[in-house]
């Protein structure tokens, strides 16, 4: 048994067709493998072997269950399905590439299930519709788990199909047992919105459509449908084939806030002296950006964009994100739109020997919350943060509620209030200009330093892309928010938020997934890539090369897990032991990683490491030229920590 289990999963797959057939028909492996060539997709009827190799047994079918599963998936207009290949879904894999002609969905080859899911995560935020993921119900789900958790925390739907072999009497000995499970979705049930393990094709059809609908209803989250190996591979009997149908999909409209609560929120906002709008995952679609602008302009209220989505233009005069703390401390009404952490938005925590916290709200300040997260909260994983004490709580989708709220506000705005708002708007516009100038002045510090400052890196990148139709698909590694401060973001696809769950390893695959979505739109995808994040599953760069995904990646290579360096410093200082060993276990040096070589080895143009800031601009120009021709490219830049 141990010897069988030691067989590598990939090696096993290489010989799966032969060994599988041989197990059924001893001594007839080669003939059986040849007979399993792809059949025409259009012929539904079964046919028998004309030259049976053993006891009249049926060895081929023209209509396996996987074909019907593909019919169902095609009804979603799903463009891509990402996967690291696995035997538990070999049936549907074959149906996708042959019966489905590898179109809608197209199979995207990944080197790790974490990459598959994170790619789908990034893809959704760029495209607005789910991407599929195929994975083993056992080791595949285990690999995928962290990325699923990120998507769950980020309220992003990922459509996961997990292979499994439930019927123990039909499993092949060895690996197939190790890769089978009673309840495949159990391991991730705490952080998916819904899952099912259908036991028939008709059951699969309903569950697959239901899963899509549930995933796409706010709060959006990943879903898992377990697809049994037998269901995928077994022939569909003619009688059943005639009855099978794909259920109609109608995606639910997102829930709006209660009309009474909307009216109360409008009253508070219009009468407020210092209202503040704080937005996090508010703009689900392009309309969200437009709707938030309309509300903010109606009230001439400052907007703090926490960046979960592209909520508000960075150069809009009402964008006051750099002054968040001061504005919130002075506010009498705060409107929170899909806030990940409302309590943390209005409170501080001091991470000292004794942790303390306090609210910095002004006494009497009123808090209004609109979030779909109030519609669904799970218990085990604690991403829901501390309990926020708010005055109006709408369990609703913020984007869907904004039009009604804006109209309610407009109805209440008198001429006197409008004059007050206009004056407030002028003051805020001046503050916005001051903040932008301050950011430019700050960026000049350490301009010529080596390692290269994150301000310089970001400014050089902006100079190269500002006249393109660009999108910053990912920004891992923390570059001090320079892009937000220096770049002009005004389109919904130019910023995609972060991982959601802060699970490191999201940045690279999410960037590739978003770039995949952007490819057909002709958008220039740009990625500021943290080095620690890069190293989690670097095989995704091969995926980018293999599928010709244009993506300009600039490494923010600070050669450490710097957040953790600082945590070690904090502990060592607290214990008065000195911090000279804080680098142990937290830095990425000795040897330094040559990211350009890794990229080159994956088939990607790679440059660097670049340590001279004056060499950065020309390197970006060279790589950008290649990306515009349709290739991925990577520039390794040795940077300051943050």
């Amino acid at each position: 048994m141990a010897e069988k289990l030691s067989v590598d999963r990939r090696d096993f797959l290489k010989s799966a067709a032969i060994t599988g057939a041989a197990a059924i028909v001893p001594g007839a492996g080669a003939a059986a493998a040849q007979s399993a060539a792809p059949a025409p997709a259009s012929a539904p009827a079964q046919r028998r072997e004309t030259d049976p190799t053993g006891e009249g047994e049926v060895l081929t079918t023209d209509r396996p269950g996987g074909d019907f599963m593909v019919d169902v998936i095609k009804s979603f207009n799903m463009e891509y399905i990402a996967s690291n290949p696995g035997s538990s879904f070999r049936g549907i894999h074959e149906s996708i590439v042959n019966y489905g002609n590898n179109q809608m969905p197209e199979f995207i080859t990944c080197c790790h299930e974490e990459s598959s899911v994170a790619m789908a995560h990034g893809y959704f935020k760029a495209e607005g519709k789910p991407m599929g993921v195929l994975c083993h119900g056992t080791v595949g789900i285990q690999h995928a788990a962290m990325a699923i958790y990120n998507a769950y925390c980020d309220r992003v739907p990922v459509y996961i199909l997990a292979g499994n072999h439930l019927d123990a009497t039909t499993r092949r000995p060895g690996v197939e047992w190790a890769h089978s499970v009673q309840d495949a979705a159990a391991m991730v049930r705490d952080y998916v919105k819904w899952d099912d393990s259908p036991v028939s094709l008709a059951h699969f059809a309903e569950s697959a459509v239901r899963a899509y609908k549930i995933a796409m209803t706010p709060p959006m989250m990943p879903v898992v449908v377990v697809i049994d190996g037998g269901l995928q591979e077994d022939p569909i009997e003619q009688e059943l084939n005639a009855r099978l149908r794909v259920p109609k999909l109608t995606v639910a409209t997102p829930p709006q806030g209660d009309s009474g609560a909307v009216a109360e929120a409008a009253r508070l906002l219009v009468n407020a002296q210092n209202p503040v709008i704080v937005a996090d995952r508010a703009a689900r679609t392009p309309a969200g950006l437009t709707r938030l602008i309309e509300l903010a302009e109606a009230l001439q209220a400052p907007v703090v964009d926490q960046g979960g989505r592209m909520n508000f233009p960075s150069r809009h005069p009402l964008n006051q994100s750099d002054s968040a703390r001061q504005l919130i401390a002075n506010a009498d009404v705060i409107l929170g739109l899909e806030l990940f952490d409302f309590w943390g938005t209005v409170s501080t925590v001091r991470d000292a020997l004794h942790r303390t916290s306090r609210s910095f709200l002004k006494p009497g300040a009123k808090l209004i919350s609109i979030t779909a997260s109030d519609l669904m909260t799970k218990a085990n994983y604690q991403d829901f943060q501390r309990y926020p004490e708010v005055d109006v709580a709408m369990a609703a989708d913020a984007e869907a509620t904004l039009p009604a709220l804006t109209e309610a506000c407009k109805r209440l705005i008198t001429a006197d209030r409008r004059r007050v708002f206009e004056e407030r708007g002028r003051t805020l516009a001046e503050a916005h200009t001051r903040a932008l100038n301050a950011a430019r002045n700050e960026a000049a510090y350490a301009w010529d330093a080596s390692p290269i400052s994150t301000a310089r890196l970001t400014a050089e990148l902006w100079a190269a892309i500002r006249n393109e139709d660009w999108t910053l698909v990912s920004e891992s590694g923390n570059s001090s928010g320079w892009a937000r401060r220096l770049w002009k973001f005004d389109k919904h696809y130019q910023w995609l938020g972060d991982s959601g769950g802060a699970g490191v390893g999201y940045g690279a695959p999410a960037a590739v997934g978003a770039a995949l979505a952007n490819k057909k739109h002709g958008r220039l995808s740009v990625n500021i890539q943290g080095d620690g994040d890069f190293l989690y599953a670097p095989g995704v760069w091969w995926t980018a090369a293999h599928h010709r995904i244009p993506l300009l990646t600039v490494m923010h290579n600070n050669r450490a897990y710097h957040q953790e360096v600082m945590h070690l410093q904090r502990m060592a200082s607290r214990h008065q032991r000195g911090i000279t060993r804080a680098h142990i276990g937290t830095t990425i040096d000795d040897p330094f990683v040559d990211y350009a070589k890794i990229a080159q080895g994956m088939g990607i143009h790679g440059e660097g490491p670049i340590t001279n800031p004056d060499q950065l601009g020309p390197a970006i120009a060279r790589s950008l030229a290649l990306v515009k021709k349709g290739q991925p490219a990577l520039i390794d830049v040795v940077t300051q920590p943050r």
Partner: protein, 119 residues
């Protein structure tokens, strides 16, 4: 757009009360070259950058013109914000003086108007 929820661990020296500026006692003698090494070995650069330029995510700018030494020293020994404290047991006064000399030695930035891509 990095989010507010990112853990902020930096020194909040720039947020110190203005009263601290009143203490204008001269800084003890320090060597900037020695201070540069200590600035790195004590990990100050992790939050404030190798040039003391600061970061909106971790810690404010502390160079090229740091606060008066008395205020600077007091904050390092007993920070009020998120910065980890550095006692004399961990960082002797002489080392702090070297670090201060290094921060004072940092050049002033170029004028923004002379950097075309920042205009």
């Amino acid at each position: 757009m990095h989010r507010i929820r990112f853990v902020v661990l930096g020194v909040a020296v720039a947020l110190m009360p203005l009263a601290a500026h009143a203490q204008t006692a001269p800084a003890p003698a320090g060597n900037a070259d020695t201070g540069k090494k200590m600035y790195v070995s004590y990990g100050c650069y992790q939050c404030h950058g190798y040039e003391g330029q600061g970061s909106s995510a971790t810690g404010p700018r502390i160079a090229p013109r740091p606060l008066p030494f008395a205020a600077f020293s007091r904050y390092v020994r007993r920070p009020a914000g998120q910065m980890p404290l550095y006692t004399t047991k961990v960082m002797p006064d002489a080392d702090l003086a070297h670090i201060y000399a290094y921060l004072e030695s940092r050049p002033m930035p170029k004028a923004v108007d002379t950097i075309p891509i920042l205009k």
